[in-house]
């Protein structure tokens, strides 16, 4: 009887869907544990329940375009601007940043990420690419372009596309003793790092900016527009920004808040 009753409750969940917001976001923010730290504070302050679907940035944007989410929190600036320009979202706001890093078995001495990739290509990697149209994959593609190299012509040899999330790709990188591009937050919280180290870091081209967008109620009448607006205001406001700054791993901050009014 209890089972039947709880089934009934579960089945009627969508009918009471207005007291929560659905956030379409990236695997990097979820895997880093940021949401476990951030969202309980938001929920306690506002009473709004949050639900996070963590997928690649490409898929998150696609889902939000289909109105399957109230808020988009991703890291692919150009694609976010295009999402807003197409009328799918309200104006985009900066939230926070960290940086991308190259991970591998050895340090690469180079002047820029493009240089580092050129050296890797010459040494035939092996390099593992996400290959999944995620924010990290998009940045990797830009860096290869800056290096004037098209690695996809070597796909399947020293350049391997996993087509998987960041964590799965890091697991493969560890097993193959290869190189890959990842974000610092995912790396610092990743438990299976094996013998890998940071091979290259610290360059302006590796900046990793996260943005937040409320899905437009004009495009998607079904969205929880009020909840989305409260969330965007909160995470870009003093409380949200301070909560992001307070999230640290072994004393090191994982994200730096940088919302502007």
């Amino acid at each position: 009887m209890i089972r039947l009753a709880s089934l009934f409750v579960l089945l009627t969940l969508p009918a009471v869907a207005q007291d929560h917001i659905l956030i379409q976001s990236t695997t990097s923010t979820q895997n880093s544990g940021l949401y476990d730290h951030l969202l309980p504070v938001f929920e306690a302050e506002t009473g709004i329940e949050t639900r996070v679907v963590a997928v690649g940035t490409g898929q998150a944007i696609r889902n939000a375009t289909n109105c399957d989410g109230d808020v988009l929190l991703v890291h692919a600036h150009a694609a976010e601007d295009a999402f807003v320009a197409a009328g799918y979202g309200l104006p985009r706001r900066d939230v926070m940043y960290n940086d991308f890093i190259l991970i591998g078995p050895d340090v690469i001495l180079a002047d820029s990420p493009a240089d580092a990739l050129t050296l890797l290509a010459r040494a035939q990697g092996p390099f593992l690419s996400r290959g999944d149209d995620s924010g990290t994959h998009r940045r990797e593609t830009e860096l290869w372009r800056a290096a004037g190299i098209d690695p996809t012509t070597s796909s399947g040899t020293w350049y391997r596309e996993t087509g998987s999330g960041m964590g799965a790709t890091l697991n493969i990188t560890a097993a193959m003793d290869a190189y890959t591009l990842t974000d610092r937050a995912t790396w610092l919280t990743f438990a299976n790092s094996a013998d890998l180290i940071i091979a290259y870091e610290g360059h302006a081209d590796l900046n990793n900016q996260y943005g937040v967008i409320a899905v437009s109620p004009d495009h998607c009448p079904s969205v929880n527009a009020t909840g989305a607006r409260i969330f965007v205001d909160w995470i870009t406001g003093p409380q949200g920004q301070a909560t992001i700054a307070a999230y640290r791993m072994n004393g090191a901050p994982l994200f730096t808040p940088n919302a502007t009014e």
Partner: protein, 235 residues
């Protein structure tokens, strides 16, 4: 071997401390898969009985179709249901995406062909045995099917167990239509996928061991029930 030992300890620790998150995930797994199997039996038993004992045009092609559907890739089922249930899809207004109801639906699509195909096989085999008996009794087709189902009830538990195994073990469909949302749509298999992507391989394997133990428990319970019922029936 280090990893496996740690995994065992992780599993024991979670179970012994009755970790509330784990209890919720296990509960949702059982609820979603249980409801999916129940729904599948509701459709699969009559469909299988008709396919096994019935004689109607199109029966053979339908039987081939149902048998082939046993191998439906979960990720394709998940994607198809996502497109249907998405707000932009034809069933969008129902608001079912990212709810347990969507996960039940997805698993029912995967399990129904298994229940139906195995039921058809069991009923068809029995109907061979009973042919002469039915001929002398002049029973209607429907009454014959009902008799076959009842007499095949012990064998039918295998169909239910096969379906339950598929439902509890699949991850491809529920992770797409459920979204693996913490405290809402996270089940055992999606939690294992998440911990793997976090690089917490021991915890992921520990959860896998708990899932295996659950599956073992369910099978043992049903087999035990079957043995007891058969003893009573043979009296």
């Amino acid at each position: 071997m280090q990893d496996f030992t740690t995994a065992f300890f992780a599993a024991f620790d979670l179970v012994l401390t009755l970790d509330p998150d784990l209890m919720q995930i296990v509960g949702l797994s059982l609820l979603v898969s249980g409801a999916a199997v129940a729904l599948s039996c509701l459709i699969g038993f009559p469909l299988g009985a008709a396919l096994g004992a019935g004689r109607f045009p199109g029966r053979l092609p339908l039987l081939v179709l149902v048998n082939a559907a046993m191998g439906l890739p979960p990720v394709v089922v998940g994607l198809t249901l996502y497109l249907l249930l998405s707000r932009a899809g034809p069933l969008g207004p129902l608001g079912l995406l990212y709810t347990p109801a969507a996960m039940i639906l997805a698993q029912a699509v995967l399990v129904t062909p298994i229940v139906a195909a195995l039921t058809a096989q069991i009923v068809a085999d029995l109907s061979e045995e009973y042919r002469d008996l039915f001929a002398t009794m002049g029973m209607s087709r429907t009454a014959q099917a009902a008799t076959l189902m009842w007499d095949g009830r012990f064998a039918l538990t295998t169909a239910v167990l096969a379906g339950a195994g598929r439902a509890l073990a699949e991850v491809g469909a529920v992770i797409i239509v459920g979204g693996n949302i913490d405290h809402v749509t996270r089940v055992m298999t999606t939690a294992i996928a998440l911990e793997t992507s976090r690089g917490a391989l021991e915890l992921a394997l520990g959860l896998g061991l708990i899932l295996l133990a659950l599956s073992l428990g369910i099978n043992a319970a049903l087999m035990g029930m079957r043995a007891t019922a058969r003893r009573l029936a043979d009296g």
